[in-house]
Symmetry: C2
């Protein structure tokens, strides 16, 4: 998941900013980006040197539309180990972000005759629009106390889900529903599109494995370097059922569209263990931030409530009914960029309106984190 468009919109044309509001926020707690100041520049440059020194010349040519074999091999190993994904490098297609992946999948599904993709009641409208631009109808699934309910979506050819950590609601897909959605896919020849945007970040226990591991022939797994490293790398990956990989590669226009140098570097980063080390370090940092956020809200804003599992780079912060808009506006006044839940609600969905904030605690650099948290607590009703 790459909430890029939402963030951009928030920055440029968002929610009728007050005329006297500051143009650049002093603090940014919008979800979507990791702490970019922690990007491992020195380690990345070392990996780039090793990768480019070792690469054969032909690696710099027009390449396999699925992406560099070095990266696909490294990802196959990593995803198996870290996320329980079952694949070989042949079924991986590298892409320029999860949005790019969905664009490719949308065109392939449409060409296969698909008409409808069931989506979650809460999510990124940019993803829904990408599917719609391929000519697919999107229809939202119910969301209840147990989270998204895939049920038996009538007429859906595919279901787009965030099983490990629902974005933005912050809950995992319920165990029974994990089983039933796979069962649905098997029975109806349907496809599950698993958006595993932040699956590496779980703080209270081992992350639940990818849904793909249950049914590699019925689930498309989508992962990204945007949360663990940086969106600017423009590197993401799909693990596809047999047969679909070639179709998706063809939809790329028959050529690799991602720069090979970063692909080779990421492959080296993964196989050398630098990626795991970096994820461990940042996981600890984000966990501490989340703990601090939970504690500060409990102490200073008892009417607000952090919900969802201890995971990812954002929390859903429930607010008293009717207060979301005024809190977002107050934050804006104080130079704190903040997103309410409203912008993530599917307008066609049946979900009852909830007042909440989607707080991205990954976004600020370390030096701005406590100031951002303080600004948040100041504007919360309490």
């Amino acid at each position: 998941m790459s909430p890029s468009r939402s963030r951009r919109r928030g920055r440029t044309a968002g929610a009728a900013p007050h005329p006297r509001a500051p143009v650049r926020p002093a603090y940014d707690l919008r979800p979507g980006s990791p702490d970019l100041a922690s990007f491992p520049r020195a380690e990345w440059l070392k990996a780039a040197r090793r990768a480019l020194t070792a690469a054969p010349s032909h690696a710099l040519d027009y390449g396999d539309p699925r992406g560099r074999p070095e990266l696909r091999a490294a990802l196959a190993g990593y995803l198996s180990r870290a996320r329980g994904v079952r694949t070989d490098p042949e079924r991986i297609v590298v892409c320029g972000g999860i949005a790019h992946g969905l664009k490719l999948l949308g065109s392939v599904l449409r060409a296969r005759g698909a008409r409808t993709v069931a989506v979650e009641s809460y999510g990124l409208d940019v993803h829904w629009r990408i599917l719609a631009s391929s000519g697919l109808h999107t229809t939202p699934l119910p969301f209840d106390r147990l989270g998204t309910d895939p049920g038996e979506p009538a007429d859906a050819d595919a279901i787009l889900l965030t099983p490990a950590h629902q974005f933005p609601m912050g809950v995992p897909l319920h165990r029974d529903r994990r089983a039933s959605v796979v069962d649905w896919a098997r029975r109806t020849d349907g496809l599950v599109l698993e958006d595993d945007y932040d699956g590496e970040f779980r703080y209270d226990r081992q992350p639940v494995g990818a849904l793909q591991g249950l049914a590699p022939d019925r689930v498309v797994y989508l992962g990204t370097a945007s949360k663990a490293l940086a969106p600017g790398l423009r590197l993401a990956w799909m693990v596809l059922p047999t047969g679909l990989a070639q179709e998706v590669a063809a939809a790329k226009g028959g050529v690799d569209t991602c720069g090979v140098l970063d692909q080779l570097t990421l492959a080296e980063f993964l196989t050398s263990g630098a990626y795991d080390r970096h994820v461990r370090t940042t996981r600890l940092r984000y966990r501490r931030r989340r703990d601090a956020l939970v504690a500060a809200v409990a102490a200073r804003a008892p009417e607000a409530r952090v919900t969802g599992i201890a995971a990812g780079l954002h929390v859903l912060l429930r607010l008293p009914p009717g207060t979301e808009q005024s809190v977002v506006q107050a934050a804006h006044w104080r130079g704190l960029a903040l997103h309410g839940l409203a912008r993530y609600r599917n307008p066609a969905g049946q979900a009852e309106p909830l007042d909440a904030l989607v707080v991205g605690y990954g976004t600020p650099p370390d030096h701005a984190w406590s100031g951002a948290l303080d600004a948040l607590c100041t504007v919360l009703p309490g």
Copy 2:
């Protein structure tokens, strides 16, 4: 221009290879790629280190769909100096190759109501197909002794040209026709798409400037790093008339789709002078290769004839009538990958069939060059 698809097709499903022919050619003289062994790895890594060290953290975030401002500023300076392009960074949009640029332009032109793009009688079918996939009709222009004749294309909304060095015919757009095509664009509110794929490589004189310099508001300039550096970078650029830049950026989906690290590195490479040094070095190497090719053909295959200007990374090698197919087949037998002109002829064009080879002398590494040239001379009718 990125003859990637043509090359790929040549490698995988090309022209009914003989069953006993070798799978991997010993020599490769197909056009489209530079000598990848000469990619300046050490210089590139130095630039990457400087660029990543200097970059602000927010450069690693989701970015401006036009591309990194550092790269657009560096390109504005370079293109003005080296190609006579008139622009500021605001009108530059970075893309992942000229094919990607044409895809974006095709969708924008179609959305603006354009229906027809005039193309050259010889060129890359992948470009024609990209325009067609946007719903545009392509109609080939006449090609005569003076090269492509843009004339007064009836009903065309745009014209796609390779003015500095027609691909693959190797001639520049005639001076009178440069003036008249710009005049046509001004009178009819038309647009010229200038594919300047190898404009930096001219060996006999200063390169003729970009057509864009004559009419920045009527010409879209397309350039690429694929020939001067490597296709694997997946970096190219468009210089657009005012107004069109924002539309093309929006067609990218509102986000930067190219990796920022290579963009920052290329910006540093350009501004530090490393790019100019590299182009000077490779220009000398390619010039020597071209000279050797001309001399060897004259000495060993007097019935063949190199045509076109001393420029670029390929020559058109005219053959006696009726011999093209057998020469390509003989080359294939000897492990020499070679393209005939036939695959570059627009099937809807009126151009009379010519027997010729499109010889990419940039492709082999230095150590394989003389062997490749010898293999070529061996299969030429002489």
